[in-house]
Symmetry: C2
Subunit: 383 residues, 2 copies
């Protein structure tokens, strides 16, 4: 199938583009490269030295014999987006092309507004491009488990059946997102749902958990294909950040008590979930929601697992409970469903000491590149 | 109290500004005047000849002896908004300053994007202006009953208590808005809720029904204070539009079967509801939701009421069931709660033949100004 991967130069996007290409799909990437620009602006950098996108794609062709199309530009520019759609004629579009950091969106008013405008307008443009020219194209959109917040009831996949005053309906699951970034994804979900209803668009919203790991079969096959790995206080997510902190002897930065439970998955499962979604498209007019994660952990549990894995490697790992820069519950109920992708064939890579070892080893390999001044959180939700 | 009315030159905003001023509040208006510009762009016009905002405010001072401050500018410009906040030092801000037409937002991609960016960014800016300089200022934000859609269960005021798998929580009421405009209000509600949670902002979201009527005590006290009255296919809302259509012998434009049930209120209740909200501010950190309407009617019921009122005035009124330009259910359950404002003292003006007479008489008075070519809907939800 012809697949357009928006945001194909990013962490999840790059791994997905290569995986889909290796599985025989005809892949084209759209990316504005703004993620690299934000690294420059913030003075941070991926742990792993990533090659320019053009070089990455050339090398992939050398390694695999497969071509990936490249379109550098911003999807908030509709004329650009529309012209790429017409060149690529996609059967599916995988949309990773959003500002994806909660702390980035909380830096200040400008970053909050930029995040919401970028994400909402980009997604609206994708919806119009589909409606206008490729009404049968399946939109696979990256959402986040963070859209749900931490309700005191079980989290279903996108919808919940409510009985109320003797009547019953199945309605969109109530959303309680925890940052202006997470809010932008909630806005997207509502907009996409509406487009499915009025235009018959087929869409799958992948409410993804926190992704960890750096190697997939494809990105690990050549040094030039290596994926990015972020550890800084803005773009670094929990488990990846902990492993890198452990590798350089920096105490693990647990925010508050660490009782925050979140949903996680291996990046090798991210790419597989996207493939499953593409191979099993939503019906015309259907807004389908999959919760895309494999396991639930509390943050303090993760920290202890890294500590234990470190011990077996002879690395002493300390844990620091920092004052929580976010406003969030640190002890709460959290139980989310994830049966849809499993029933479509996902076979999870579960988090294990072995994986922690591999991530830790990776971090050790590149530890000379770590800038310790970037590790602590600098963005507060309160001020 | 010092009250800042954003969108104070609009239909609800102007009536509210005068009412609050007459009740002794110190009122300042912010308005970009873009609503008048959109009339020009679309080639439509209010039935009633409205004076320039500067003249309106001068005349109000002549009639009442009370001054209203005027700040012409766009709240998506944060520097402008922030400087007005610092001049006015508001204890409450009433935010009507959004693009408020569903058909306008459905004209094309550009109008959808413009509506969402304008509304979302404006409201984000208001939230930051409150947080940065006036953390105790009460935000009274105009939402819409259309945020809820038409669920098959009773509509509560903003939240619903859900029992699920043996556990219970009170969560934001699920939203199913029916246009990119209504979606923008849902986005706003989520953003405001979050700001209350993390910054302790006090906010009241007024989920308002369809407003009808043109006269309030203040806007009726002088020809120069007259309020706008829209009847065109883009900005005209159901009952007002029907009365004006009846006055010129145009068949009433009922979309589809007309079984769509909606919530309604008299503009004299709009201004009173805002006053009630201001006089009973939300607590710090509270995101309070009031459903602001007084009665429920189906569209076809309204049409029949106008037809009957017309008969008593000797006007023959036809009803046309047009092909519905919108995508919406034409027969559905609809039962919404509205007890909060009533319990705080709202005494509703109920829709009656008398009111229909008055609206009809008003329409007859200005019928020479009607451009019949603007009456039919021109915007389709499907294409």
């Amino acid at each position: 199938m012809k697949v357009l991967v928006i945001g194909g130069d990013g962490y999840c996007g790059w791994a997905t583009a290569l995986y889909l290409s290796s599985r025989g799909h005809e892949v084209a990437i759209i990316d504005s490269l703004v993620r690299r620009h934000w690294d420059n602006e913030l003075g941070v950098s991926t742990l792993t030295p990533i090659a320019p996108i053009q070089k990455r794609i050339d090398r992939w062709q050398g390694v695999s014999g497969k071509k990936i199309g490249l379109h550098v530009g911003d999807i908030t520019n509709y004329d650009f987006l529309s012209s790429v759609f017409r060149q690529v004629e996609p059967g599916a579009v995988v949309h990773f092309g959003e500002q994806r950091s909660a702390p980035f969106s909380m830096i200040d008013r400008e970053h909050a507004v930029a995040t919401q405008v970028n994400n909402v307008v980009g997604t609206l443009n994708v919806l119009y491009a589909i409606r206008n020219d490729f009404p049968d194209c399946h939109l696979v959109k990256l959402g986040t488990m963070g859209e749900y917040g931490t309700p005191n009831i079980d989290i279903e996949e996108g919808y919940i059946t409510i009985e109320h005053n003797g009547r019953k309906d199945t309605l969109p699951y109530p959303k309680q997102p925890g940052s202006f970034y997470h809010l932008s994804k909630v806005h997207d979900s509502h907009n996409i749902h509406f487009a499915c209803k009025i235009w018959g668009v087929r869409a799958t919203d992948l409410n993804q958990g926190v992704v960890y790991g750096v190697l997939t079969e494809e990105t690990g096959s050549d040094e030039y294909l290596i994926n990015r790995l972020d550890y800084d206080g803005v773009f670094g997510t929990a488990l990846n950040r902990f492993c890198i902190q452990a590798a350089v002897g920096h105490p693990l930065t647990v925010y508050g008590k660490g009782g925050q439970t979140r949903a996680f998955l291996d990046i090798r499962d991210t790419v597989r979930c996207v493939e499953i979604a593409i191979n099993n498209p939503a019906d015309a007019g259907e807004f389908r929601v999959f919760n895309q994660f494999t396991e639930l952990f509390s943050i303090i549990d993760l920290a202890h697992m890294v500590q234990k894995a470190g011990q077996t490697m002879g690395i002493k790992v300390e844990i620091n409970n920092l004052e929580n820069p976010r406003v969030e519950l640190e002890e709460h109920y959290f139980n989310a469903k994830n049966t849809s992708l499993l029933s479509l064939g996902l076979q999870p890579h579960l988090l294990s000491d072995a994986l922690l070892d591999s991530l830790l080893n990776f971090a050790v390999k590149y530890r000379d590149r770590i800038d310790q001044s970037q590790i602590l959180p600098k963005v507060s939700w309160r001020r």
